[in-house]
Amino acid sequence: MTAPLGRRGARITARERYGAYVVLRCADADGPTPAAGQFYMLSCAAGWGGGEGERPFLPRAFSVLRACPASAPLELEFLVEDVGPGTRRLSELLPGEELLLTGPFGAGFRPPHRGRRPLLVGGGVGLAPLAIWQDQLGPDTTALLGFRDAMHAPGAELMSAPRVATEDGSAGHRGLVTELLAAELEADPQAEVYACGPPAMLEAIRALCAELELPAQLALESGMACGFGACFGCVVPTREGYVRLCLEGPVLDAHLLETAAVAGAGH
């Protein structure tokens, strides 16, 4: 799906808290319906800059959490975790205030190979692209979600019937989501894994799927300035050399990667 040329305004229509996360809903009257796994570059129409270190200056990349094409105008939802000046400012936005956005950009998830059962694995805020993908695949699609603690676990409410792991044991399985995944793959070797989350989690999933020779599609992160291939800042190393994640990704086939632990990504 190609994006309108230029930055456009989108009014916030709702803001909801899920523990440590904020879900922003906005009306994107001029935008096309995004594909699952695509992302937008977001900034605020007012007060962008002047946070910690007098940042932010550049827009920030966000996966689309959900798109509601039935509503007119099109409404988009984004999931925001406050980890720095940009996400802080965005998470403070209130209904009626204006978001600036460009997108949708990038290549999203591809359907599972014939005969393969999709299995969604998210870590923290990485659940965002998996929620819209589950909307499309169907609510019965298995989702495994990992969270740090009780503050973050409410993010699980954003997906349909997920199995949850928390590192502090405050909800669901005590431990890592990759433990749930390993058990799941043992029971069903016909899975195709779709994952998004912190670099260490994605790398563990990449290694596990490589060992089991299972296809996996990983939604990666890297520092992005533009989102449309202009800056060459977002490259990640692949077996075919550096690729611009905003153009060739953010979803990449795991077998393209020697590692999913991208330098400078995560927080």
């Binding site: 040329l5 230029g6 930055r7 200056f57 550049l58 202009a230 977002c234 991208v262 330098a263 400078g264």
Partner: protein
Amino acid sequence: MVELCGLELAHPIINGSGTFDAIAARRAFGEQLLERFPFAAFVSKTVTLTPREGNPPPRLWELAGGLINSIGLPNKGLAGFLAEDLPQLAELPVPVIVNVMGFSRQEVAELVQACSARPEVAALELNVSCPNVETGLVMGADPDELARLLARVRPLTDKPLIVKLTPNASDVVAVARAAQDAGASALSLINTLRGMALDPRSGEPWLGGVTGGVSGPAVRAVALAQVHAVCGAVQLPVIGMGGVQRGRDALDLIRAGARAVAVGTESFRDPAAGDRVAAELELLSASADGAQLVSPQPF
């Protein structure tokens, strides 16, 4: 209409090399990019003789009002550019300026000759911000070094030869004069200023390339001062750039003497920034007292 060393431009706003990839943008935005191309000419990212992967990531560090990049000039190399990219760039509705860089005079000569031979190329821009591996001198930081480079390559083409000056020179005006005396058709400035950032956690350099180039509004005042100084010293047309975000900033560079203005980093924030700056500039220029009119665009 603006005339820039023989090129007819619909307005004075072009892009800074390496800040807009028209081929990638066409993938992201589709055919509307050709219908509403944001710039009056398109400047390619720097092309080198052999392909380059670029620097290891991370390549970006955000600043108050700007960024540091250590991209490292990734490109397909001359042969790949001419075979794959140039035919696509020729479909743009504006003149194409090819930016080239070589690590020796011989390399620059080969680049200039090969690009000049292609009818799709309207003009060449020389990125002289790199060291000559034979002399160890940054070609654009030393007037004599630059004069020797131009003496070698100027006779190789009839097309306009734009020299992109580096701000990391002790005497930019002396370099500008040397470029004029050696037959440059125009000058462009400023390129990025050398800068660096440390990882707040480890204290080690953040950027994969250790140092990088600072751009964006943080360098606007430096750009204005250098454009002003160079325009006062040479008669060549000048393309001013550095931190341009609004028509107001472009007007300042034009008042300082620039013939055309390039938008770089601002395109990252708004892919149609070139178009917007051109429209704002036109409004400002049309108003009797341009100074009073400031765009409401927030920064």
